[in-house]
């Protein structure tokens, strides 16, 4: 949680979970606004629909588990999960995709493990990974940014009403084909025989639409910096994650620029920034100590690069985070800080030399 380790005085203002979660919700607003601006109403509808579902599921399962419903609901953690999932889903994801996702996130990934604070995996990422595996068609149908649809009109996103009927009604494939296309990551991955440079010039989403992803990433960074400033999390995990991703992609880019994408591309497309500031910093499922968070972040960054470059799925945040969630208890075991007054930190398993 917001336990920033510091020297005395140890008297702090009580930092309640609900307060922290509200700050996180606030910090997602710039990203949400940017997504809505570039990709249309779908993101906003997804986030609202996911939030409603999350509150519903959370209340239902709390009641079933005989827990105080009102008290736990007020910690806003279900809302944070829902908002993060809503932001990660493609803007035109059908209503039932979100429904399955939120169910898995809240009921299976969170409450079956014992509720907030007990879940070994980030609930939003569990849901995202499950959806990506289960519904590959729906989950890869990403919207193109409005700048690519019609250069003449100023803001040519699909109207609010049409988006609603697309998400909650039947799928109109003609309409969808007009407004959806490959994401930059997808485009660069399936670029045929083109070199990176040729792809940048010829593939439309890379040539014209990439700015939208840059802007969305910048908006997430804004939210992240705000949270860092309010000391909701420390810099360790995001900086380590972005750092290792940058270092690895730079190394490969220098060796073979025709084949590998440049580091700036890796940092600014897909979910990198959302992952770095909102997912990797999850206090429950990440490593605990500052040193542990650095290892945790490095692992995520390296895995993102590996999965994006050689893996079967275009984006890799969810898989990388889940894999590192698995290692978090292990990292904690070996990075326990030295207790004041003890010469040596109490690290590793008992009996280790």
């Amino acid at each position: 949680m917001a336990l920033i380790r510091s020297s005395s005085p140890h008297l702090h203002k009580m930092n309640q979970t609900g307060h922290v979660m509200r700050l996180v919700l606030m910090a997602t607003l710039p990203g949400m606004a940017a997504m809505t601006f570039f990709f249309g109403w779908g993101t906003l509808i997804n986030v609202i629909w996911a939030s409603l579902l999350a509150v519903g599921f959370e209340a239902a399962i709390l009641k079933w588990r005989n827990r105080p419903v009102g008290f736990v609901l007020r910690d806003y953690s279900a809302l944070v999960t829902a908002v993060l999932l809503g932001l990660a889903l493609p803007p035109f994801a059908a209503w039932w995709v979100t429904l399955v996702g939120v169910f898995v996130a809240i009921v299976i990934a969170k409450h079956l493990y014992g509720g907030l604070g007990q879940n070994p995996f980030n609930p939003a990422m569990v849901a995202y990974a499950l959806l990506l595996i289960s519904f590959p068609v729906e989950m890869t149908r990403w919207t193109v940014p409005f700048v690519m649809i019609d250069a003449e009109s100023s803001w040519s996103v699909l109207s609010l009403f049409d988006t609603l009927s697309l998400i909650f009604g039947s799928i109109d494939s003609a309409l969808i084909d007009n407004y959806t296309g490959a994401t930059p990551l997808d485009a660069l991955r399936h670029r045929g025989g083109l070199t990176t440079e040729e792809a940048w010039r010829q593939v439309p989403v890379l040539a014209d639409g990439i700015g939208a992803w840059h802007a969305v990433s910048a908006a997430y960074v804004m939210g992240g910096v705000f949270l860092l400033y309010r000391k909701v999390f420390t810099w360790h995990a995001p900086v380590a994650m972005l750092g290792s991703l940058t270092v690895l992609s730079t190394l490969f880019f220098i060796v073979q620029p025709d084949y590998f994408a440049d580091p700036f591309f890796h940092l600014t497309v897909g979910g990198t920034m959302l992952g770095a500031f909102f997912i990797a910093t999850d206090p429950v499922s990440s490593a605990t100590s500052n040193k542990g968070k650095i290892y945790f972040g490095i692992g995520i960054g390296a895995l993102i690069f590996v999965i994006r470059t050689w893996g079967g799925y275009p984006d890799a945040i969810a898989f990388a985070v889940l894999l590192m969630n698995l290692t978090a208890p292990f990292i904690d075991q070996y990075t326990q800080p030295r207790t004041y007054g003890h010469a040596k930190a109490n690290r590793g398993m008992k009996g280790d030399a």
């Binding site: 399955v100 499950l130 289960s134 068609v137 729906e138």
Partner: protein, 233 residues
């Protein structure tokens, strides 16, 4: 030595169910339960092998030296598995191809080996036969339940392709529960099997808990004995 029919039956089907309590034979259990027909096919094959191996091992139990009993059991089980494999190849060839490696792998199914060592090698033939049947039925029931769950969730049908096992007449058994279902790939893939299995075990534990509570309410008073939870087979 009289055969305690009720206890053996209850053990195999519920209290000591090979899949839900002993957690043995999980590899085929998780791998082939994508549909009811696969589950039923493997369940039947395992049950027949279990019956045969229990019968043989029990009949020869007095001649088998304790120090080499495991290799002997493996030989007996393997010969039954080979027979089943050839039979399936002859009569249900398509199902044989679908189940593939998991038919020969019945040899390594710990549930069968476990029953051979824990029960058949110490009990008379009639009891061992009953034990084999009940354990086999208990194992198959879980397989079929899991297969049904995953088939409904994964492809929206139930009892599809039953003709592979019961001949062309069974083709019409297929029930389409949801028309135009776009498929839930997660349920068909191995992770779905793990989650489904976990839910089934949880369900059994809930039912056990309820039964225990009811029993306690009916017979109050007296110091209760603490019972250890059995986690492995």
């Amino acid at each position: 030595m009289s055969v305690d029919v009720k206890k053996i039956t209850l053990d195999g089907l519920w209290t000591n169910n090979p899949a839900l309590v002993q957690l043995l034979g999980l590899c085929p259990l998780l791998a082939v339960t994508g549909s009811v027909v696969n589950a039923l096919g493997l369940g039947l094959a395992s049950t027949i092998v279990l019956l045969g191996s229990n019968l043989t091992i029990s009949a020869f139990r007095k001649f088998v030296p304790g120090s080499v009993r495991l290799p002997i059991f493996v030989m007996i089980i393997a010969s039954f598995v080979t027979a089943i494999e050839l039979l399936m190849q002859a009569f249900t060839f398509e199902l044989y191809q679908i189940l593939g490696i998991f038919i020969p792998l019945i040899v390594t199914n710990c549930a069968i080996m476990g029953r051979a060592d824990a029960f058949a090698s110490k009990n008379p033939v009639s009891a061992s036969l009953l034990d084999g049947l009940m354990m086999g039925v208990g194992f198959s029931a879980v397989l079929i339940l899991l297969g049904g769950m995953r088939e409904v969730l994964g492809s929206g049908t139930l009892f599809a392709d039953m003709q592979l096992l019961f001949g062309p007449a069974a083709e019409s058994w297929k029930i389409v529960l949801i028309d135009d279902y776009s498929g839930f790939l997660f349920a068909v893939l191995p992770p779905g099997a793990f989650v489904g299995m976990g839910l089934l075990i949880a369900l059994k534990n809930i039912i056990d808990g309820r039964l225990e509570e009811r029993r306690k309410r009916q017979t109050p008073a007296g110091p209760t004995e603490t019972q250890r939870v059995r986690v492995t087979g």
